[in-house]
């Protein structure tokens, strides 16, 4: 039973190309067999009958014989036979109703035997008669008076073109049908592949925006799946390339800002310590930008899993809070944590710390004076759902996803306040690298950044 179910499961799906091909080939085979069978028979039957031309000629002979008999009797028949003998090389005779010769020469035994249509004992018993067939044609005006008997002249023998027709029915026509089948198969199987090839060539020419036609992707069968997969791939490729280009543009733009400030500092006349202090500040900013970008690129491209360890979120929070308080000058009481000591998650310490630190910095930067930032969370099955809530202005609903894109700075934040718009992108990449999720939500007052991480 199990084996049957297994093999049933392994059958191709309803829309599979297999069924199409199977139906097509089976139908084709049956058609070919029927065609050669029925047509062959038809042609053979057709070939067994005299042509109209032969019939008319032979009827004319019979009429001539009757005329000769009626006008001249035996002598007339003799004369007629003599003239006919010059025209036809085969045997010719005119007989009466009792199978007697109407000419003055009686029939030989052999001839009378032929007239009775009986086969000799030693004749081949086959459908195909030996030698040329004998025909009896009654007189057209008075059939009772007699008949013309004639050995069919070779030129009237039907089926002279039999070989030709056999070639046509057994060779040419099946060949044509097979050609049609090939064309059909080609259209069915190869044309979609040609589309794919054209698409691949378009990629080679850097036209990443080209997509397959609707026909190619709306098919239900395997080729349709292939087409959709292909389209999906080009979608990914295009977005990757555009992200890369965007990143490069943004990065050079961001680097230009500190460079132009350096240029100004270089040109303006300042005393040395002031210049030095300013240089140091700008270099620090540039270094941070490059480091953050490298970090982002590293998180983005590196696919090897990060080594995971168990992390106590409370201890992590204590560590980050100490740094944040030092950086921002906030008192400890404004950075609150609602989590208990039993909140342990599995993750990569350095990247998780960096993610949470970036989110915290972002929250602090957008907090109003005397605002509070609070970390909270709850256990949900095998995961910990953590969130960090600030009391800032929040962001517009349609910007909630965009804040995670690199170099995104919303209108509210001032340029040069320390952010390059990379923090949240790094945070998201870092959380995703360890199998977590990161998203934002407007909650009451301020922004709430959610994080989902696997529990210990």
């Amino acid at each position: 039973m199990k084996g049957l179910e297994y093999s049933l499961k392994r059958l191709p799906g309803k829309h599979s190309l297999f069924w199409k091909l199977a139906c097509l080939l089976i139908a084709f085979c049956l058609l070919m067999i029927w065609l050669s069978w029925s047509w062959g028979r038809y042609m053979e039957q057709q070939g067994a009958f005299l042509s109209d031309d032969a019939r008319a000629t032979l009827s004319g002979y019979a009429a001539g014989a009757e005329l000769a008999w009626n006008t001249g009797g035996s002598a007339g028949v003799d004369a007629w036979l003599q003239t006919m003998g010059k025209r036809e090389s085969t045997w010719l005779g005119v007989i009466g109703n009792h199978l007697q010769s109407l000419s003055s020469y009686p029939l030989t035994d052999k001839e009378s035997q032929r007239l009775t249509f009986l086969r000799g004992l030693d004749w081949p018993v086959s459908r195909h008669a030996k030698g040329l067939p004998w025909l009896k044609i009654p007189f057209p005006v008075d059939p009772g008076a007699g008949a013309l008997v004639i050995e069919l002249p070779q030129r009237f023998m039907p089926g002279r073109y039999q070989l030709f027709w056999r070639v046509v029915t057994n060779g040419v026509i099946p060949g044509l049908f097979t050609l049609l089948l090939c064309v059909g198969l080609y259209r069915l199987l190869i044309m979609p592949l040609n589309h794919l090839r054209e698409q691949a060539n378009a990629w080679r020419a850097d036209q990443l925006a080209t997509r397959l036609s609707h026909d190619a992707t709306s098919r239900q069968d395997e080729l349709g799946e292939l087409g959709r997969a292909f389209d999906h791939m080009s979608e990914r490729l295009q977005s990757t390339v555009s992200v890369q280009q965007q990143l490069l543009r943004d990065l050079s733009h961001e680097l230009r800002t500190p460079l132009s400030r350096l240029r100004v500092a270089c040109d303006s006349e300042q005393d040395l310590p002031q210049l030095r202090e300013r240089l140091g500040r700008e270099i620090d900013g540039m270094q941070r930008l490059v480091e953050d970008t490298l970090q982002l690129a590293w998180l983005d491209t590196e696919r090897a899993p990060l080594p995971q360890e168990e992390i106590q979120v409370q201890a992590l929070w204590d560590m980050l809070r100490e740094n944040a308080c030092y950086e921002s000058g906030w008192p400890v009481s404004r950075l609150q944590c609602g989590l208990e000591a039993d909140c342990w998650v599995r993750g990569h310490l350095n990247s998780l710390a960096q993610a949470l630190e970036n989110i915290l910095r972002n929250a602090i930067r957008h907090s109003p004076a005397a605002g509070v930032v609070r970390l909270d969370g709850r256990r949900e099955g095998d995961e910990w759902h953590l969130w960090l809530q600030d009391q800032g202005g929040g962001v517009d609903e349609e910007e909630l996803e965009r804040i995670f894109a690199p170099f995104t700075r919303l209108d509210g934040s001032r340029p040069g306040d320390g952010g390059f718009g990379l923090g949240l992108s790094i945070a998201r990449n870092a959380v995703q690298r360890q199998g977590g999720h990161l998203w934002a939500q407007n909650a009451g007052q301020g922004l709430r950044v959610h994080m989902r991480l696997s529990a210990r």
Binding site: Q295, D318, Q354
Partner: protein, 242 residues
């Protein structure tokens, strides 16, 4: 003024960039090190093998022979401390550097202060390794409030064990042994975690955070691990500088 000046620590710098190399050479010389500067990888390896240096400071991208190959060759016969410098700041490069036996990895650009701290951390760690361990007994008797147990790797206070991990114990013990002296992160990484320090590495901070929590749990308030910004950590009394 400097009693240790008789035996200056000797440093071999292998760096091909003329500007950076000259600057490092000059600055380290000013800091009281005896610096030898070499611009070629092959020659650098030869010198490191033939002469006795205290620390080798080496770039990764070098003409002749790259830093990682030099390190591989050097490690076959010498255990001399090596600091790698590189503009390749990615995590993967750092890890491959450590795997080949580097003692520290310094991403470019770096400040002279940073370089000096790291060199000193390594020199100090080497000195500690060479010296026989001083008995901790003196410290132990003195610690009427916190008792260290080397066997269990844990501390005891008011009839309670703090439940430290091995690394946390080693860190606390190092801080305790050095009294009120501020220990740099570079040194603590070298001595406690036996690896180089990187800006994104938070293991040490996390250990400190755990030590603080655990000491608080057992009610030890006499001294605490304090952060000295830009320098490192110190175990000091609560009232000091608070």
């Amino acid at each position: 003024m400097n009693p240790a000046a008789i035996n200056l620590p000797s440093i071999l710098t292998i760096e091909d960039d003329p500007v950076l190399g000259a600057y490092v050479h000059e600055q380290l010389g000013r800091c009281g090190f005896q610096v030898t500067w070499c611009q070629n990888g092959q020659a650098g390896l030869k010198m490191a093998r033939e002469q006795a240096f205290d620390v080798v400071l080496m770039d990764i991208l070098l003409p002749g022979m790259d830093g990682l190959s030099i390190l591989t060759h050097l490690r076959q016969s010498h255990s001399i401390p090596v600091i790698l410098m590189s503009a390749l700041g990615a995590e993967a490069d750092r890890i491959s550097g450590f795997r080949l036996g580097a003692d520290d990895y310094l991403p470019k650009p770096f400040s002279m202060i940073e370089l000096r701290v790291r060199i000193e951390a390594i020199l100090r760690r080497v000195a500690l390794d060479r010296r026989p361990l001083p008995a901790l007994a003196a410290v132990r008797n003195d610690a009427r409030c916190l008792r260290f147990d080397d066997e269990l790797c844990d501390v005891f206070h008011q009839e309670q064990w703090a439940g430290l991990t091995r690394s946390e114990y080693r860190l606390l013990e190092t801080l305790y042994r050095n009294g009120e002296e501020v220990l740099s992160k570079a040194f603590l990484y070298q001595h406690v975690l036996q690896r180089g320090y990187a800006p994104h590495d938070r293991s040490l901070d996390m250990h400190v955070s755990q030590i603080r929590r655990k000491l608080k749990t057992i009610g030890y308030t006499e001294r605490e691990v304090r952060t000295v910004w830009g320098k490192g950590y110190v175990l000091s009394g609560l009232d000091e500088g608070a």
